[in-house]
């Protein structure tokens, strides 16, 4: 909601489809969504996954865009935010490739205008020293934002604490992304795309390209 308010995204028309998860999916207007996952059993589990763009260190979406529609996706040097150009029209076929390149299935598109949209890491706020809208709003401290080094330290410390109770707890792809989730159970129980599988969306050509591309210096991170 804070995301929608800050970014002035339109409301989706929703219905209750038998779940508290609404809107049902990310979209051109919905950039952050809590996914509800109920695990039935004697001991019920209910997981919440606040899905959003991971702002990858080396974003595959950008790699595709650089080849097909240069300028459609940029990466802010200061913050590392991966940003979709809100003014650039993309061909549907190119969008399909961009979306499929994303291991987390994040990119969304408005066919009538050809514009792509997703979480911006609120770089317009962070570059002014403010917290991203969602982080600022959360009253319980579920989200933390700051320098990558500090956040990784915090994340690992918390992981060790949590492992005392949840033996299988992990951090989701901490080396590859700037939005790091701490998960206490099998990632699949949270969401199909909670963690990246090595082969999803990355062609061999791309994988090779990645190996040869130098990593840019990366400072900022969301945890």
């Amino acid at each position: 909601m804070a995301c929608k308010q800050w970014n002035q995204r339109a409301t989706e028309k929703t219905i209750n489809w038998g779940s508290h998860q609404n809107p049902p999916d990310l979209s051109y207007n919905t950039w952050k969504l809590v996914r509800f996952s109920e695990i039935p059993g004697d001991k019920v589990n209910w997981y919440f996954f606040p899905d959003q763009c991971r702002h990858c260190m080396s974003p595959p979406c950008k790699e595709v865009a650089d080849g097909k529609a240069k300028g459609a996706i940029t990466q802010d040097e200061k913050t590392g935010a991966v940003v979709f150009n809100p003014k650039m029209k993309i061909k549907p076929a190119d969008f399909k490739e961009i979306r499929e390149a994303c291991p987390y299935d994040i990119p969304r598109f408005l066919p009538s205008t050809g514009i792509m949209a997703k979480c911006t890491m609120c770089f317009d706020r962070t570059k002014e020293g403010m917290l991203p809208a969602c982080v600022k709003t959360c009253p319980t401290g579920a989200m933390n934002f700051g320098d990558r080094k500090d956040i990784l330290e915090k994340a690992n410390k918390r992981l060790e604490e949590v492992k005392n109770v949840y033996k299988d707890a992990i951090l989701a792809n901490p080396d590859d992304v700037r939005i790091i989730y701490l998960l206490v159970d099998d990632p699949k129980k949270y969401h199909k795309f909670a963690v990246a599988e090595n082969t999803i969306g990355i062609t061999r050509k791309m994988a090779l390209k990645r190996l040869l591309q130098p990593l840019s210096s990366l400072n900022r991170l969301i945890g």
Binding site: K4, G18, S19, P23, Y47
Partner: protein, 799 residues
Amino acid sequence: MTNHYIDFRNADVILNMGGNVAENHPVSFKWVQAARDKGAILIHVDPRFTRTSTKADIFVRLRSGTDIAFLGGMIKYILDNNLHDEFYVKNYTNASFIVNPKYSFDDGLFSGYDPTKRAYDGSTWALEKDENGIPKRDMTLQDPRCAFQLLKKHYSRYTLQKVTEITGTPEDDLVKVYKAYGSTGAPDKAGTELYAMGWTQHTVGVQNIRAMSIIQSLLGNMGIAGGGINALRGESNVQGSTDAGLLFHIWPAYLPTPQAHLATLADYNKTTPASKDPRSVNWWKNRPKYLASFLKSTFGGKATKENDFGYSWMPKLDTGQDASWLNLFDEMYKGTFTGFFAWGMNPACSSAHAGKVRQALAKLDWMVNVNVFDSETGSFWKGPGVDPKKIKTEVFELPCAASMEKEGSISNSGRWMQWRYKASNPPGEAKPDGDIMYELFKKLQALYEKDKGTFPEPILNLKWDYETNGHFDIHKVAKEINGYDLTTGKLLPNFVSLKDDGTTSCGNWLYSGSYTEAGNMAARRKKTDPTGLGLYPEWSWCWPLNRRIIYNRASVDLDGNPRDSKRALLKWDASGKRWIGDVPDNAVPPMGTDGAYPFIMKPDGVASVFGPGLKDGPFPEHYEPLECPIEKNLMSNQRINPVVKIFEGGLDTFKTCDPKYPFVCSTYRVTEHWQTGVLTRWLPWLIEAEPQMFCEMSLELAKLKEIKNGDRVVVETPRGKVEAVAIATSRLKPFRIAGQTVHQIGIPWHFGWLHPKDGGDSANLLTPTIGDPNTMIPESKAFMANVSKLTKKQPAKKG
């Protein structure tokens, strides 16, 4: 609350029962989490697995309406296993007090019951006093007539087996909770309980909370950091509204509303609580000072000693009259009222048996609807099935400012009065409530001046000078609430200065000290915390006297030393002859062997294990809800609370143990909406998140009724029916009650027909007109309903 929100972080064990803290008080969960980060455990007891349950270390299920059975079992477990805090029980409670020999309890009824009146004569519940009027005690707690032994006897009936049969909670789960919570009986352990409507909205609502008060008294958790009885109030300023006396039975600051037979001030003051015990502070003995000062605030210079300070101008209740909500709307339905102010409320959706209310509104000549948005109440005349041509009620809609468009204070659940500033102007013609009230009454006074009218004195003599430069000035009201020394014109420092001779005025004695010569205490925002316990004594102001944890002298031993060094709330400094820490309750020396008891607001000065002051008994007893799934109460032959008022006939139907309504139904909230949704349903982003009325049910029940997740269903009771979307979930499971399978369903009460058009209507169309005998709070949390698949075709439209 006896404690406050931040104090949750001081607990070792947090019990959230009768509430759903993470979803409905999300910001406060920060403090629950802070406790857990220090190793505390959270126990959640609820019919449903909710977002709170995901964070609970122990989650157990119970059937709606069986909390006393559950807690009764806990009392038995605590006593059987000697988990109670013996020192505390002996010294700070009335466990040692001897009870009248005529007191008895048999088969669900306490002594003194009159079945024709459906009421108790409570005289046999009295505590024995000696020739000096001091309660007789047995400090060894062995006398069979002492409260402790009677408590033990009463709850010996709440065996694990019995409790399981009633609640549906497996025995292992009961023991898990009892053991974990019972561990806080140790003097260096603190247990807190957080509750909300899940406990209050029952025909045994008050006794639910009483049961927990007994537990907290046994475990020594009252008056300590990380302890207490903590109501999570359902509205951001409902604490302020009850403090201000908005309920029919109280004047501001909990002075009882007089009944007609108390014709003079002297008559009223004769009912002031009294105690002959020199060790009981009995603070309420000061009531005449607060009453006189309140009347001076009300009538100003017109109130004199000669005219009883205007006491005869104040409205009174008829002797025995109960003007609570259910009775009020029953009268409205009967056509008793000409007009009605629906001020910041939406009774067409918030009232139990909302359908009766909607019909009642049509009986009015006029109604004034003051709200931020239009509502089902303001627009009742064009509601579903209503023909506007047949409605004679004239409705006036007065738009008012939202909370950030006006200045003033809000009192949170923890009694903290926090001043808020105006952030933006209200739109169009909308005005703050204070301005509307102020101007309205000025007009009324002018009309009475001109046209006289019947009994004009209360109107014309009312002190009504809260303006600056012709505009309503809320600071003037706040100052009057604090009170003045009328001889000097100065603001009073606190209520200790109040007098009964007409030389002081004070709108609300509890709030005296909130706006003094030093300034607006409620507006303070200092983050200093000298004790480190999260008291933040200079952040805002709390009543009484900025005392953050009440009854805090129960946290020390007889010499005034903290019994728990980790939570040193108060400590007596013998050399300085003062208490260090929180504001002491109250500023008398340590109890020692002949000093004052700590529970200063109670006539006997101690916490009540035996509580003779309620209408339905001195000990909580399990009774089934009015509508329940089993024919017989397993505890006794009294199926329901023997003193509840039953509305007879007409629209007030109810059905119990009826195969047409086989499922236990409860009502609750979601984080995304608030109350009747009168404010939240107009916000597109909130509707996007929770767009429609839903009905949660177990996977087993869904299968039984051939309902698929996402199907449209109808939920029905004898009072009405509501359409909803089925959410079939593993978070609800069937209960095993007295050998039968009992299903439970649940619905939110956030929706109304006005907007959005496809959102659904109010859950309160289903709830029964029956309430707790002490408060008349409706039993919205446990009634019987049916749910079935909606047969007509609905256009399928997935998001």
